[in-house]
Assembly symmetry: C2
C-alpha cells in the first residue's frame, strides 16, 4: 500500500481518485447483445448460453424439482446461517416501511404519501466461482417487504446447465420462484425488453461485471430504472490508537480479496497504527487462498497519516467510501464526522463482514464516490412514494386565491381557470 | 381528442404509448457543449450567453442588489401567494424527514440509518416567457429541509442580462443566494464539472427543454446524479357520473396549455360524461390565451370509455400517469385502485393546479410512464440514508458463526477471518 504522511489537503482530491475504467469500447458490443435479445428473444438467450456459459439449455426457467434438489444439497449449517441473516435483514428492513401520515397543510387541504411496491422488478446475481446467495437476501428481502408483485431473478448457469444450490435455496426461502438461467448483458437485455420466457421489468437490481454494468446503463437510457451506478467495491478504515491492528488488517484484506480492482484505504492520526497494521497485513495475507488477488488490490491502495482524527474524517468525506469502518473505542462520537459514505461500521467488533452478510443492513451500496449523491439499497429502492391530496370546499376556498395569483404570474391561465371555476360554483352554490 | 369506446384490453398498451422523441441527434451537439464548458469554463458560458440568450454578461452570479431590486418589483399579492405555497410545501415536506430508529436485530447487534443532506446540489430553472418560480419552491424547500450545504440555482438571463423578479424573490425567500445567469445544456455542464464561478455539484434537479434533458442524461453517465428522467407533462382524469364536467375540462386544459407535446387523457365508465366534457372543452378552450398550443396537445390526446370504473384504474395503471385526477364523489375509496402514478388528486375540488402550486405536494413528478419505477421529488431526493451498525462483544459472539459459515460458502476466506480473529480474541480475553 502506498503511504502518504500528512499530505496537504490540496492534494486530497487527487489522492482519492479511483482508477478509471474505459468502458466506452464495450458500448458497441453490449448494444449488439441488447438488440439481438430484443429482436430474437429466447432464441438469442439460448445461443448466448451456448457461447458464454458453454451450456446447452432446453428451458430457461428453473423448474420446481431443481429447487428441491438444491435444498437437499445445502448443509444444515449453511441453511441455519442463512436463516439468521434473513431474520436480521428482515427486521432492519421492515423498520424502513413508511407509514402514511395525512398532513392537513391548510384547513381542508389534506396531503399524504403512500408507498406502493414497484410491480415488476428484476434481480441479477452474477455467477463465477463463488455463489453470491447473500446478494439474493439483500435484494429479495426488501423487494418482498415493499410488496413487489413479480420478482424475477436471472443468474448464469454452469456448463452443466445448473444453478448453484445455495442460490436456489435462498431464492426459494424468500418465495422467489421465477429464476432464469441467463447471465451477463443478455440477462439485463431480457429483463429490459422481455422475451417469451422472461417478462420485462420496471427496475433492475444487482451487481455484475463490466458487461452487466454497461447493459444496465443502456437499460436505464431506454427508460428502465436501475438500483445505482456501479464501480469496484471499497472500504476505508479510520483507526486511532485504540484500534486493534490485527482486526484492521483483517478488514482491509476482506475487501482486498474481492478482486484486483478493489479499493482499500486506511487513515489514522497515529503513525504507529499504520506500521502495526502493515505488519499484520503481511502476516495475514500469507494465509489467504486469494492471496494474489488481494495483493494486487493492496498494491493499488493507500494509507494516510493525517494530522488529527478530525482530518481523517474530512479526507474520508472527500473519498466518499462505500464502507467506512471506525476502528476506535470512541467510534460512536467520532461517527458524527461522517458525511459521505454508504455504510458505517462502529468500533472494534463491527467488521465489514457482519454487514456483508448478516447484521441486517444492506450490502448493496454506492461505490466510486457515488455515496456523495446515492444511498444504498433499502425498501425505498423497491417502492414509489405516490403523493395524494384531497381538497374540501373549505380547502379550495382557502387556497384558491394563492393558486390563481401564482398561475397568472406564470402566465398559465387554464391553471388559474381550473380554480376560478370551482370557486365560482361554490359562491353560486 | 381521439375517442376509444370499450377498447379491448389487449390494445391498451398500444393506446398508452407516448409519442417518441428522437433525441439521438442531440447527443453530439450537447456533448460538444459539455466538452466546451469542461475545457473553457466561464469563458464558454459567457460565449453561450451571447449566442443563445443574446446577452452580454460581465458576471455570472446574481449580485445582492439584484435580489433587492427584484423584491421591490414583485407585487404584494404575489408575495403573499408565494408565502402561502411555501408554508404548505414546508409543512408537507418536513413531515417526510425520517427519524433515526436504532434496531437491535440480535442481542448486541445495533443497526440504524441516518439521513444526511447531499452536500452540493444544483437546481435548474428554465427561462422562456413564463418564470417558473413555483419550481424553485418545489426543489428549494426540500433541499433546505434535507440540510444540503450548498444549493446553486442556474437559470437563463434575458437579453438585458436580468433574471425575472419572481425567480429572484423566491430564491431569496428560501435563502438560496448562489443564483447564476446560465441556461440550457451549458448550465448543466457547468454544474456537472464546475467552472471558476460555478461549483460542481453531486446532484442536478429541474426541468428543461430537450437540450437540458440530454445534458442531464450525459451528466448522469459521467457520475453526477439527477432527479429523474424527463418527458412531457401529462394528466389522466378518471371521471364517473358524479364528476363535474366543466371542472374535468378545465383540468384537462390546464395540462394541455403546458405545450403541444403535453399528454391529456380522460377515462370514464360513462359515455355521457365523455360527451359533456367534450362540450365543456370546446367552450373553455375558446377563451384561453394559449388556445393554439392547448389545441395541439388535445389533438394528440385521447379519451376512453371503459366497461367499469375498475377497468378505468387498470388502464390508468398501464399508462402510469404523472398526475391522476379522480373526478368522483367516491374518490377516496376508488383511489385504492391506483398502483402506478406520480401524484393523485381526489374529488371534484382537488384540481391539479392545487398541487402544481400550493397544496403542499411536490410538482416534480415522473412522466412518460416512469411512475412505474420512480417517485416524485421529495426530501428523500436530497438526502443519502447512510446505514450504521455497531456490534458489541456479545453481538459478534452471537452472529459470528453465521457470518463465518456464509463467507466460507461464498469462498471469501478473508471475510471469514475478520470474524474468526475477533471471536478468538474474545475467547482468549
Amino acid at each position: 500500500m502506498k503511504t502518504y504522511n500528512l499530505p496537504n489537503p490540496d492534494s486530497w482530491k487527487e489522492i482519492c481518485k479511483r482508477p478509471v475504467f474505459n468502458t466506452r469500447d464495450l458500448t458497441e458490443q453490449v448494444n449488439a447483445i441488447m438488440d439481438d435479445v430484443r429482436l430474437n428473444g429466447d432464441s438469442a438467450l439460448y445461443r448466448y448460453a451456448q457461447k458464454f456459459d458453454q451450456c446447452t439449455l432446453t428451458e430457461l426457467q428453473v423448474r420446481p424439482e431443481e429447487f428441491e434438489t438444491a435444498s437437499s444439497l445445502v448443509s444444515i449449517e449453511l441453511k441455519q446461517a442463512i436463516q439468521v441473516a434473513k431474520a436480521n435483514i428482515e427486521k432492519f428492513h421492515t423498520a424502513q416501511v413508511e407509514e402514511s401520515k395525512v398532513i392537513e397543510t391548510m384547513p381542508g387541504v389534506f396531503c399524504w404519501r403512500k408507498s406502493v411496491g414497484i410491480e415488476k422488478v428484476g434481480l441479477y446475481i452474477p455467477g463465477g466461482t463463488a455463489p453470491l446467495f447473500s446478494t439474493i437476501l439483500m435484494l429479495g428481502i426488501p423487494a418482498k417487504i415493499a410488496g413487489c408483485n413479480e420478482i424475477l431473478l436471472c443468474t448464469p448457469p454452469s456448463s452443466a446447465g445448473s444453478i448453484h444450490a445455495a442460490i436456489l435455496f435462498t431464492a426459494q426461502l424468500l418465495g422467489i420462484t421465477q429464476v432464469y438461467k441467463v447471465g451477463g448483458a443478455q440477462a439485463i437485455a431480457a429483463m429490459c425488453n422481455g422475451t417469451d420466457s422472461i417478462p420485462a421489468v420496471s427496475k433492475i437490481f444487482g451487481p455484475g461485471n463490466q458487461f452487466v454494468t454497461k447493459a444496465k446503463e443502456l437499460a436505464q437510457l431506454s427508460g428502465v430504472a436501475i438500483d445505482m451506478p456501479a464501480g469496484p467495491s471499497e472500504v476505508l478504515v479510520i483507526a486511532d490508537k485504540t484500534c486493534v491492528p490485527a482486526f484492521v488488517a483483517a478488514d482491509l484484506l476482506s475487501q482486498a480479496e474481492h478482486g484486483a480492482d478493489s479499493q482499500v484505504v486506511l487513515l489514522s492520526d497515529d503513525a504507529q497504527v499504520l506500521e502495526e497494521v502493515k505488519v499484520q497485513l503481511a502476516i495475514q495475507l500469507a494465509t489467504l487462498p486469494r492471496m494474489e488477488m488481494a495483493q494486487q488490490a493492496l498494491d493499488k491502495s493507500f494509507m494516510v497519516r493525517c494530522a488529527s482524527m478530525e482530518q481523517c474524517f474530512e479526507l474520508s468525506n472527500v473519498y466518499a467510501p462505500e464502507h467506512v469502518i471506525i476502528a476506535s473505542e470512541n467510534a460512536e462520537s467520532l461517527a458524527e464526522g461522517v458525511v459521505n459514505a454508504g455504510s458505517v461500521f462502529l468500533g472494534n467488533y463491527s467488521c465489514e463482514s457482519a454487514g456483508d452478510y448478516a447484521s441486517g443492513t444492506n450490502h448493496t451500496l454506492p461505490t466510486n464516490g457515488f455515496a456523495k449523491a446515492y444511498s444504498g439499497v433499502s425498501v425505498d429502492s423497491f417502492v414509489r412514494k405516490i403523493t395524494f391530496q384531497k381538497l374540501s370546499a373549505e380547502g379550495i376556498q382557502g387556497i384558491g386565491a394563492a393558486i390563481e395569483t401564482m398561475a397568472e404570474a406564470e402566465e398559465l391561465f387554464a391553471h388559474k381557470n381550473a380554480v376560478s371555476l370551482r370557486l365560482k360554483s361554490l359562491e353560486n352554490g
